[in-house]
Symmetry: C2
Subunit: 235 residues, 2 copies
DNA sequence: TAGATTGTTAATCGATTAACAATC
DNA sequence: TAGATTGTTAATCGATTAACAATC
C-alpha cells in the first residue's frame, strides 16, 4: 500500500497550498510555454507570458514562483524547466488512473480530451447503466456496465473519478465511488454531492458558469439601452 | 433597434456589478429554493440555505442582498420572491436566443441541458462544418452548416454564442461570430480567444479546472504518504 | 416578551498590485 | 555599464467573516 503511493512523494518542497485562482492560471502558462517549446524558444519571461495572455506580469511571476522554480534575472526561465516545474507542481508529471461514470454525450466528449493524459489524468474505462452501451468503445475507451465498477475500482486501486451522469443519478454514483475508496471526484452533474470531508470534489456546474455570463450580458445590454436613450435625448 | 432591446431595461436599480464568486453561488441558492417551492415551502432563511449548501449564512445573506430583495427579520424571504429576485438579477427572467457552434459530443451534450432555457439561454440552432450533420437534429435542435451562420445571425439578431469546436477551429469561429455582432461568447474550446474588448467572454477551460483538482489530489496523496511513513517509524 | 433573523457596519483575511533591491 | 528581469517586501484592494442594532 505504501509502495503503491510512493511515486506521489517527490521529496520536493513544493507542497504549499496555493490559491484556486493561481491553480487555474498555471495551465494557461503551461500551454503557452509548450507552444514556445515547439517553435524552439529556450527561455521565456513573465513579461512575455503576461503580454500573450493579457495578464499582469507581476501576477504571472507570483504564480510561477509558487511552482518553486528559480529564474535568472534579465533572462527569464528556461522553457523546458518551466514546463517541468508547472507539471511537477500540479501533479501532472505522473498520470493517475481514473474512471468515468456516464457515457452519454458529455461523457463521450470527456473521453475525447486526449490531452488529459498529459495533465495527470488517465481515463482507463467508462461506465454506464445502459446495457446497450456496455461492450462498446468511445474514443478507444471501453464502456462497461455500472455494476462492474465496485469490483474493478477495488482491484485497480482507482482514486479519481469523473461523474457525467444526470443530476438525479449523481449522488448514487458518488456513494458507489466512496464505497470503492475514491479520493477525488470531478463532478459534472449540476448537484451538490454529499461526500465525506476527506474526498476532494470539484464541481463543474454549468449553471453557475452561465450565471456569470448572463449577468454580465444583462448589464451590458442595460448600459446599451441607457446609451441609446441618452442619444435620443441629445439628438 | 432600441425597441429590440427594451426588455433588458427593467428600470430596476439592481444593476450593480458583483463579484464572480457571488454570481457563481446564486444559482445554487436558486436551485435549492426552487426545490423548496416544489415541496410547498413559502419562506426560507439564509441560515437554512447555508446549512443545506454548507456555506456561511452571512455569506448567503450578502449574496442575496445583491439581488436587491428585502426580507423580513425573524421570517426570512418569501420563496417565490427570492426565486424571482435571483432570476431578475441574473437576467434569467427573459431568455436570450443563442447559437451553438460545434455539434460534436460536447455540443450535443450542451443541447441536452434543458434547463438552460429557464436560465436565460435559449439555444435555437447549432452549426457544424461537417456536411453530413447538416439537416439532422440533436435533442430537437436543428444542425445547420456553418456557412449559414453569418446570414442567420444577422437576421435573427443573435447576441450570444457557445463555442464547442476543437481548439484549432475556435478562433476562426470567434471571428465569424464577431463579424455577426456577437455580444457574449461562452467558450468551451481550450484556447484564449482574441476578441474585441466589448465582447463578453467566459472560458470553460477544463484543463484549468483539472489543474485545481490535480494539485489538491497530489497534496492529499503526499500527506497520506507522510502519515504512513510516520506510522512506520512509530510502529 | 424572547429569540431568530435581517440589514448594516466594522474587522479580518487573502489576493492582487506596486515598489524596489538584487542580479546578470 | 545600462537595462531588463527576477525575487521580495510593502501597499492596496476586495471579499469574507464577525459584530451588532433593528425588527417582527
Amino acid at each position: 500500500m505504501a509502495a503503491d503511493l510512493k511515486n506521489f512523494d517527490t521529496g520536493a518542497p513544493e507542497g504549499r497550498a496555493v490559491s484556486e485562482a493561481t491553480l487555474r492560471r498555471l495551465p494557461l502558462y503551461h500551454r503557452f510555454v509548450k507552444e514556445l517549446a515547439q517553435i524552439g524558444n529556450l527561455v521565456v519571461s513573465c513579461t512575455q507570458i503576461g503580454a500573450a495572455l493579457d495578464l499582469d506580469s507581476t501576477q504571472v511571476r507570483k504564480d510561477i514562483e509558487a511552482t518553486g522554480i528559480v529564474g535568472r534575472p534579465r533572462v527569464g526561465y528556461g522553457v523546458p524547466d518551466l514546463i517541468a516545474a508547472i507539471e511537477r507542481f500540479l501533479g501532472w508529471d505522473n498520470a493517475t488512473d481514473a474512471f468515468l461514470v456516464g457515457a452519454g454525450h458529455l461523457g463521450a466528449a470527456l473521453l475525447g480530451y486526449r490531452r488529459f493524459e498529459e495533465c495527470g489524468l488517465k481515463i482507463i474505462a467508462a461506465f454506464d447503466t445502459d446495457a446497450r452501451k456496455a461492450g462498446t468503445e468511445i474514443h478507444g475507451k471501453k464502456i462497461l456496465p455500472l455494476d462492474k465498477l465496485p469490483d474493478l475500482m477495488e482491484r485497480m486501486k482507482i482514486r479519481i473519478a469523473i461523474i457525467a451522469v444526470p443530476a438525479a443519478a449523481a449522488q448514487g454514483v458518488a456513494d458507489l465511488l466512496v464505497d470503492g475508496g475514491v479520493r477525488a471526484v470531478w463532478n459534472f452533474a449540476p448537484v451538490r454531492l454529499a461526500l465525506p470531508q476527506d474526498v476532494i470534489v470539484h464541481n463543474e456546474d454549468l449553471y453557475c458558469s452561465l450565471a456569470a455570463l448572463s449577468q454580465k450580458l444583462k448589464l451590458a445590454m442595460q448600459a446599451e439601452v441607457r446609451r441609446q436613450q441618452q442619444q435620443q435625448q441629445d439628438g
